[in-house]
């Protein structure tokens, strides 16, 4: 049971990541590429949170309800990391999209293989 859960949770997270990478590597559209990057990040976030999950744990908050009791809590560190990762990912996505807009204004296309003034 646990084995299946392990494989399915991690597997789906990795699969989402791979789908993202696939989009980045094959799609010609710049926005699609950025979407791919963001999917990639989502996959990773899922993976990291899942890694921190502890069966039977509660959210790592010492609310009055749990105060004083000895409770098992899920690992808070991955959550903190994912928090950071999400925000950073958003920042990168925003910058990427503004670059896409600028590229579109300049080249009037958002196909990546038509934008290669700089080469060799």
């Amino acid at each position: 049971m646990n084995q299946i859960l392990t494989y399915s949770v991690y597997g789906s997270a990795i699969l989402v990541m791979l789908i993202g990478i696939y989009a980045v590597l094959t799609k010609k559209n710049l926005i699609k590429i950025v979407i791919g990057l963001s999917i990639m990040d989502s996959g990773f976030n899922l993976l990291l949170v899942a890694l921190g999950y502890i069966k039977g744990g509660t959210a790592p908050i010492f609310s009055p309800a749990v105060a004083g009791k000895d409770v098992l809590m899920v690992d808070p560190v991955p959550q903190a990391l994912v928090l950071t990762a999400i925000v950073i990912g958003f920042g990168v996505t925003a910058v990427a999209l503004s670059l896409v807009i600028r590229l579109y204004r300049k080249h009037n296309t958002i196909k990546i293989d038509e934008i290669k003034t700089l080469k060799w």
Partner: protein
């Protein structure tokens, strides 16, 4: 053909990642620094939300970095889209796109204060309940987003955004530097206030303050980013 190659590459990659992670049993408790956090967050810091304690205190530096990343993203977008911050005031009559419907406008008007309050609540209570500076800030930004969408002539006053984001950022760093002067270990971002008691609003010492600063900062930052993007057509003298 190319796609096939790529897919096979990705399969190899996926296999090796899976191979690595499948050894880690899902949902199993592991040893590590997190137990220390779970122990010290309520005891030393009197912070109920351990994630907040980690984000703000144990790994406060990361948060500073994060806030910086957002600030950086806002600045970067301004640079990339050649946005002139100072010249941009007042309404813009040349706006071509149609107004949003009345319903949306009314809903926006109604929801905006509620969203604002929610956002403020979230970041003020960051050390007690789930949520905190980032979440609250993001919620506030959504509120502004609503206004930006529903009222076409709505303008975010850049002066204020700039002031808020700068002051919030400065207060974050200043709190950190004060920690170097006042804190018991003289280290950056160190708590120098009374930590209060667990599950009080005024607990956690500087953590609450930092998260409020973060909330303002993130809210201003995200609003700025959205505003930059929404208004590029008018201001964007992009080559």
């Amino acid at each position: 053909m190319k796609k096939l190659v790529i897919i096979s590459l990705l399969l190899v990659l996926g296999y090796s990642l899976m191979n690595t992670f499948s050894d880690i049993e899902f949902g199993k408790k592991r040893e590590g620094i997190s137990s220390y956090f779970l122990e010290h967050s309520p005891d030393d810091l009197q912070v109920a939300n351990t994630v907040t304690a980690i984000v703000v205190s144990f790994r406060g530096f990361d948060t500073l970095g994060e806030v910086t990343v957002l600030f950086l993203a806002a600045t970067a977008m301004g640079t990339i889209l050649f946005r002139r911050r100072s010249k941009h005031t007042g309404l813009n009559p040349q706006r071509k796109s149609p107004q949003a419907s009345r319903i949306v406008q009314a809903a926006g008007k109604l929801l905006f204060p509620a969203i604002m309050i929610l956002g403020a609540y979230v970041f003020i209570h960051g050390h007690l309940t789930p949520g905190g500076g980032f979440q609250g800030g993001a919620i506030i930004a959504t509120g502004f987003l609503l206004l930006l969408i529903s009222y076409r002539q709505f303008k975010v006053e850049h002066k204020y955004v700039t002031w808020i984001e700068s002051l919030a950022g400065l207060s974050f760093v200043t709190i950190g530097l004060l920690g170097m002067i006042l804190g018991p270990h003289n280290s950056f971002l160190e708590n120098f206030l009374n930590v209060g008691s667990l599950n009080d609003l005024l607990s956690g010492g500087v953590i609450a303050l930092v998260y409020i600063a973060v909330g303002f900062k993130v809210g201003a930052e995200l609003t700025g980013i959205l505003d930059t993007l929404i208004n590029i057509r008018e201001t964007g003298d992009i080559d």
